[in-house]
């Protein structure tokens, strides 16, 4: 057995637990110790459920002792982004307005993890209600990138990605509305997948933009990501937008890792100007590697992608302003300003929301309120919905020519904490390559493809596939991952400074 249980992959851990080589309790303790040792500096977690994790691990060990069958990830520790409900466990969404709230029910994702014997360690930090690219919009302070503690870990799911990169958990749950799984994966040297819209239930996922939100897996290897994907995906009657179709064989695809004869398209509009030199270099090298592995690589134009960001920043705020109306201090969460005479319900709502929401959340609610207001609806929200159609058509046309599309995941490597905090538009540009897939509802993966020579920080490559062809992401990702590992000699996270 490896001396450090936190260094194992999820697949290795599951095998060790199933064979009795390590107990699930030992594995959980090793990760809880790691969290205790490093999380003061990383701040990936908002809540660590020591008691619950050890109890879940002990239950897995008991089942094994009794000779009962174990699910593929039984006994593997995992961190959950704090936007997903877990019964009785604080769920804040990174916001003061939900501080202290303990949901009375499990999200479907959380429930499936529990049934599978996955050991939930705790809840991870995020930008408030998943709006941001740096976790700096968390009301509880930012998460730090394990590669360089002065850098952002990406966002909004920076806590989940940092927990995985810092070996605090081999697996994490993220959610991706405009890139919040893929962008943090890219800047932390980890793997993240946004599944097809509707592939993973949104029941119990606190909604930001209901037509864009999608939960998905974060891990250190493509196979681990696939194992988690298979555990959480699948039709759920509790989510009316859940796809009633079988989950593609993502685990089989990750094990196949054979791209001979596949057609791969490099998106003309995602790359070039505005992308950091080291990001472009690692991306170009990876594309060459895909050719060496037997794929046919061509350039494909998606002419409306340059308008995706603009459409997204009208659609998202519009849906957000509607979804976040429920946080009004009446049924759950914070309520302030009631003790001043006999205030009206509207006054209490206004005071509660001003006290409970942070700057970025207020900005986006007001932007959405504006875009949906009389006189502007057609020009803003209506036009953005038409652009969404054009982007979906771009994808459809591209996937007639190729099996998957690739691009850099992000324009740059991790930037410095504080660098873009006062410039919302600069912050929004981080999502320029990830947003099209959210608008079209198609799946995307980010995987690490090296370090940028100029700053030594991880670079991510994005793979995009047609809706419900998530397995293609895993096939291509695993093939590229294996070829890169062969070249490097050891996993990329071994290059990260020790914490």
């Amino acid at each position: 057995m490896a001396s450090d249980l936190t260094r194992l992959t999820a697949a290795q851990t599951a095998t060790a637990v199933a064979s009795g080589e390590a107990s699930a309790v030992e594995v959980a303790r090793a990760h809880l110790d790691r969290i205790a040792a490093v999380d003061e500096r990383v701040h990936a977690f908002l809540h660590v459920d020591t008691k619950g994790a050890l109890a879940a691990a002990a239950a897995v060990d008991a089942r094994r002792s009794a000779g009962e069958p174990l699910a593929p990830l039984a006994g593997v520790p995992l961190a959950v982004k704090d936007v997903m409900t877990q019964k009785g466990i604080p769920t804040t969404c990174g916001s003061r307005i939900l501080e202290g709230w303990r949901p009375p029910y499990d999200a479907t994702v959380t429930a499936r993890l529990k049934v599978a014997g996955v050991v939930i360690l705790g809840k991870t930090n995020m930008d408030e209600f998943a709006m941001g690219s740096s976790t700096e919009h968390s009301a509880y302070g930012p998460t730090h990138n394990p590669w360089n503690l002065d850098r952002i870990p990406g966002g909004s799911g920076g806590g989940s990605a940092a927990a995985v990169a810092a070996f605090e958990a081999p697996l994490a749950i993220g959610t991706d509305t405009g890139g919040s799984i893929r962008q943090p994966a890219a800047v932390t040297g980890t793997v993240g997948v946004k599944p097809t819209y509707g592939a993973v239930s949104r029941y119990g996922l606190v909604a930001l933009a209901s037509s864009l939100d999608q939960a998905g897996p974060c891990a250190r290897t493509v196979l681990d990501t696939a194992l988690l994907h298979a555990t959480i995906a699948g039709h759920d009657p509790l989510d009316s937008t859940s796809v009633p179709a079988p989950v593609p064989d993502v685990v089989g695809a990750a094990r196949r890792a054979d791209i001979r004869g596949m057609r791969i398209g490099v998106v003309t509009e995602l790359g070039g100007e505005g992308y950091q030199a080291g990001v472009r270099q690692r991306f170009d090298e990876s594309v060459a590697l895909l050719t060496e592995l037997g794929a046919e690589v061509v350039e494909v134009s998606c002419p409306h992608f340059p308008y995706a960001l603009a459409a997204y920043y009208l659609i998202l705020p519009s849906e957000c302003s509607s979804n976040l109306a429920k946080f009004d201090g009446m049924r759950f969460g914070l309520r302030v300003g009631e003790d001043d005479g006999s205030p009206s319900v509207e006054q209490v709502m206004g005071r509660t929301r001003a006290a409970g929401f942070g700057d970025e959340t207020i900005r986006r609610i007001m932007l959405g309120t504006y875009a949906l207001s009389a006189g502007y609806y057609d020009a803003y929200y209506g036009s953005a919905q038409k652009v969404r159609t054009l982007i979906t058509r771009d994808f459809a046309a591209a996937f007639e020519q190729v099996d998957v599309l690739v691009s850099p995941t992000t324009p740059t490597t991790a930037f410095k904490l504080g660098e873009k905090l006062d410039d919302p538009l600069a912050m929004y540009l981080n999502d320029i390559a990830t947003i099209p897939a959210n608008l079209a509802g198609t799946p995307g993966m980010s995987l690490p493809v090296g370090l940028a020579p100029e700053d030594g920080l991880p670079v991510g490559l994005q793979i995009m596939a047609p809706a419900m062809a998530d397995d293609r992401l895993y096939n291509v990702g695993a093939a590229l991952e294996a070829a890169l590992l062969d070249r490097w000699g050891r996993p990329i996270l071994e290059e990260a400074p020790s914490l």
Binding site: W101, R102, P103, P104, Y105, Y197, G198, S211, P237, S240, T241, Y307, L309, A310, A311, Y313, L314, S321, D328, G329, M330, R331, F332, G333, R335, E338, S342, S344, V345, E346, V348, M349, G350, R353, A354, I362, R363, I365, M366, L367, T369, Y370, S373, A379, Y380, G382, S383, A384, Q385, K386, R388, T389, L390, P424, L425, Y428, L439, A440, G441, A467
Partner: protein
């Protein structure tokens, strides 16, 4: 539209009221400036698509989903009220909803 309408502090105050957020007066100019910049950057959407392009509101062609109308287990009264800021007689207690006489 060819030009972005300018956003004034009065506009922000109006939006804040619609959104039920008591934005302090000293922050109105700050938000006005930022919303103006963001709207200036996103206004280009109106120049892209012609009248012949249908809008997409949702990525899936799902219309509606029904289930059998049968009683299923659900949250108890106490569970549903467990996160409420104020409770009275097994109900959510809220501030007054009507104007005072």
């Amino acid at each position: 539209m060819s030009e972005t309408p300018s956003i004034t502090r009065d506009d922000v105050a109006h939006l804040a009221r619609l959104a039920r957020i008591d934005v302090p007066p000293e922050q109105l100019d700050h938000y006005a400036e930022q919303l103006q910049v963001i709207l200036g950057a996103v206004a280009q959407v109106s120049e892209v698509a012609g009248d012949d392009v249908p809008p997409t509101s949702h990525p899936l062609p799902l219309i509606n989903v029904f289930r059998e109308d049968v009683v299923r287990p659900s949250l108890s009264n106490a569970e549903a009220l467990s996160g409420a800021p104020s409770v009275e007689s097994e109900r959510f207690r809220v501030p007054r909803i009507l104007d005072e006489e």
